[in-house]
Symmetry: C2
Subunit: 584 residues, 2 copies
Amino acid sequence: MRLWAFLLSVYWVSFVTYFILWKSYKHVSNLRATARSTPDVKPEEFAVLVRDVPRSSPDETIKDSVDSYFRALHPNTFYRSMVVTDHKKADKIYLEIEDHKKKIARAEVLYANSKTESNPEGNKPTHRTGFLGLIGKKVDTIEYCSEQIKELLPKLEAEQKTTLRDKQQRAAIVFFNSRSAAASASQALHAQVFDKWTVMEAPEPRDIIWPNLSRNIYERQIRQVVVYSIVFLTVVFYMVPITAVSAISTLENLRKVLPFLKVVVDRPAIRTVLQAYLPQIALIVFLALLPAFLTFLSKAEGIPSQSHVVRATSGKYFYFVVFNVFLVYTLGKTLFASLRTILDNANIGVIINMLATSLPGGATFFLTFVALKFFVGYGLELSRLIPLIIFHLKRKYLCKTEDEVKAAWAPGDLGYGTRVPNDMLIATVVLCYSVMAPLIIPFGVAYFALGWLIAKNQVLRVYVPSYESNGRMWPHMHTRIIAALLLYQATMIGVIGLKKFYYSPILVPLLPISFIFAYICHMRFYPAFANTPLEVAQHELKETPNMDAIYTAYIPQCLKPDKLEDLDVFEDAQSHTTSRAPSF
Amino acid sequence: MRLWAFLLSVYWVSFVTYFILWKSYKHVSNLRATARSTPDVKPEEFAVLVRDVPRSSPDETIKDSVDSYFRALHPNTFYRSMVVTDHKKADKIYLEIEDHKKKIARAEVLYANSKTESNPEGNKPTHRTGFLGLIGKKVDTIEYCSEQIKELLPKLEAEQKTTLRDKQQRAAIVFFNSRSAAASASQALHAQVFDKWTVMEAPEPRDIIWPNLSRNIYERQIRQVVVYSIVFLTVVFYMVPITAVSAISTLENLRKVLPFLKVVVDRPAIRTVLQAYLPQIALIVFLALLPAFLTFLSKAEGIPSQSHVVRATSGKYFYFVVFNVFLVYTLGKTLFASLRTILDNANIGVIINMLATSLPGGATFFLTFVALKFFVGYGLELSRLIPLIIFHLKRKYLCKTEDEVKAAWAPGDLGYGTRVPNDMLIATVVLCYSVMAPLIIPFGVAYFALGWLIAKNQVLRVYVPSYESNGRMWPHMHTRIIAALLLYQATMIGVIGLKKFYYSPILVPLLPISFIFAYICHMRFYPAFANTPLEVAQHELKETPNMDAIYTAYIPQCLKPDKLEDLDVFEDAQSHTTSRAPSF
């Protein structure tokens, strides 16, 4: 009787999950369509990113060959093209100038503040020109920086010219004169050979990772393979340091290594709490080190946009977290002990059985894990205590000008890269323990219910997104929740099977049902995420788009001409081919 | 030493196959690009097939909603649309009229021939109006048929009107005024929701299967699932009759059942030959019954074009032939005997081992099989003996008019549906036995070398293709050859492993290499097969396309207006909405 209830609960949980997933996908899909059909002019909706531009003849610039190719294929809708340049050097000079400007602003504020009644002249701020302002000649900051800017400006101008003409890369952004023309062009196969003229929807200007645009298709693929191999090794062998950390981080060891903790550790109340939470805290701290590494790897893949990098990071992090937190903590020593058994019978049945045997043991650990995340995580998130402290410290000791205060206050992005996989881990844990240790369900529900309220508040009122991907994160999360669901179902089959329950094979159909569900969702909703449907792109605009402004939006800061009238000069600089020889 | 040679041969064979596959794909891909960029005007290059047209409001015809939708999305390039109608009834009347016309022509020839010197008046041909011309009233054929045509013509006209206005289906062919506009429209996602306005490249007019166009996306998917289940059952359980046939078709059994064969069978020379070839002949005859059934199933899937049906049939037939001829004949009784073992240890290793044990036994059988195909098949093909006999019989006894003789002489299509999977079977067999029984290689090489010459000759000089798919069959064949290659490699790993050769795992990397090779080929060449690249579509045309002629090409024979000027009337008939109520 109890086993029947058990069995039916698995079905019930699965179908509730399907229902929620379906509704969410539909909802996000509608939101995306609404967002993409607003009457506001967005530059990225008029642009297409072109990569793998073939090597043109020596007396033709890449700009010219892009222009002639797209003008021939889209004679009525092609507006303009902008070749991607290698502007690293120009960018460096530009940033130096900006830096000097900031220093001047800061020095002026300091100078004004120093004019007290007792010292009406004030002290002119000075600094040293050497390493970190510690050594070298002492100079008057305002004068020195103004001179530097005067020196750098012509250098920047010269570098801009050189960059535009001689540092063109094999990628371009092509602009069309209507949204639907751009949407249609981004979906059409352009070249007969696969490795030339690959097109895709252009990312938002601030979302672009410039150095990645010019990587060619072979380089991208090789990089992808290498990165995935590294990620695989990281995921599988990261458990070695994790195990080491959990072995060390017992209270007794800590007392020995760090004797000054004795005062705290020897109090019985604190001791109990610490003993319960220490391994979990160690794990959470440990996990915080990883995202930066995974983001670096994702960028190295050659992905053209920041938002895509975040998705890729989040995907890698999810696999890491499920494997290293969920599986390793569940199986624990069983895994290493039975590694030989697994290798001898490389059979999915053996693995499921093993999971089923060890899963119940992890229940307490994961209950506390979810509870901790719930109690501590949300408090920190909502109060934004740490950013507040940092802001006040900065304002007191570092910030002098208005701009600096503003920058210190800026809340930044939501940080999808780690937030999403961590929430996915909670979902996985709650799903997998929902039937065996139902006490986890209220915690899970509370976690996500409160999370919904808090995240919504933070997104609407606190964080400032630095780019907009119109819900493209959702299909990615959807896939991973289904992966979690499959893990849950496979484990349950094992758990009930272990109890020698005669009817346990009744659960087996759940696995194909989940695959079919995933396939149907993908077929039904994904196309409108992968591409912009023409129906959506052809919505009326509020105003006639200002094509010059759209074009300008994509010019990197360091190459931007001072006045809009100079746009043609900017474009001409890319096409002129005659004066190539005498390079600056 | 012998085993090392064995092992290296497997690598050698695999890499030669990769090389050939790569070169062929590249070659076919170039041929396709050339074929698609010819300056001739082809109607299908200006058209897009639209399915799943949503239900329009009750006072708007489907034609109007298609027009307004596509005019809005493609304002500059949309030319016209043609809604697909259910013209079954009109077609029936049209065919009746054509039949009567043929009868009149035939009767006139008979009448003219009957005017001999002795009978200058001649006999007016007559026939009976009842069942098969055997019962009923005797009538004068020419008079009767002329009257029938006179009666049917107004009926056809009325039916045409009704069909165009009231029998519009939820599918349409949309015409664009340039090739690249059509190519680009066929690749763009149109609707936000997946189940409306699905677009694809239009098949050639003569290639279209009209009744399948209007099936909606859900119906298509359900039909596909049902058809695949039926095919799966057919493939797996067809071995029951095959086994029965091979058991019966021994000479002794035949003698008993058909005693009149004794005269032939008792001669020792014939007996020896028959004993060697009888099972193979039985198999070949048996396989000839299947294609019609598989074609019927493929059509039932809801595939819109004849050429795609042929590809689908050929795919199903290949799996059938590999499973039922190759596997069943190789494993033979071992398969049934060890079914329990397989079910108990559902493990790929066990299956490979079993294959490896039984494969050597099949060598002689398949050597004769390839040799038989080579000696008998090509002779029949090249001499076209059977069509020749049929033609002469027809001309002597059936054909009276010029048109009938022409129709009897028409060689028809190449029959890709069965020819391709049969050749793929030979490729599979030759690959799998190439190392164990190298004697099969000269036969295989001779088979394909001669096949190349003969098929080329037949294609260029004999067969008349009834539609052109521009090489879309190749990617399909490519995938299946790789499947054969994988089967070969897996078997070889088993065969060498059985000999307890220490270095046999050296072969294992071949499997992932094959998968990577397949992926690279797919990524590199397939996109240009799935869609027309804009680069190819924008090639200059020889003349300005006559859009009316392009539009007319897609009007089904039975609905075609008599004069081209009536085109507008034809189109108007689809749009008019006012006179819907009084239906004919």
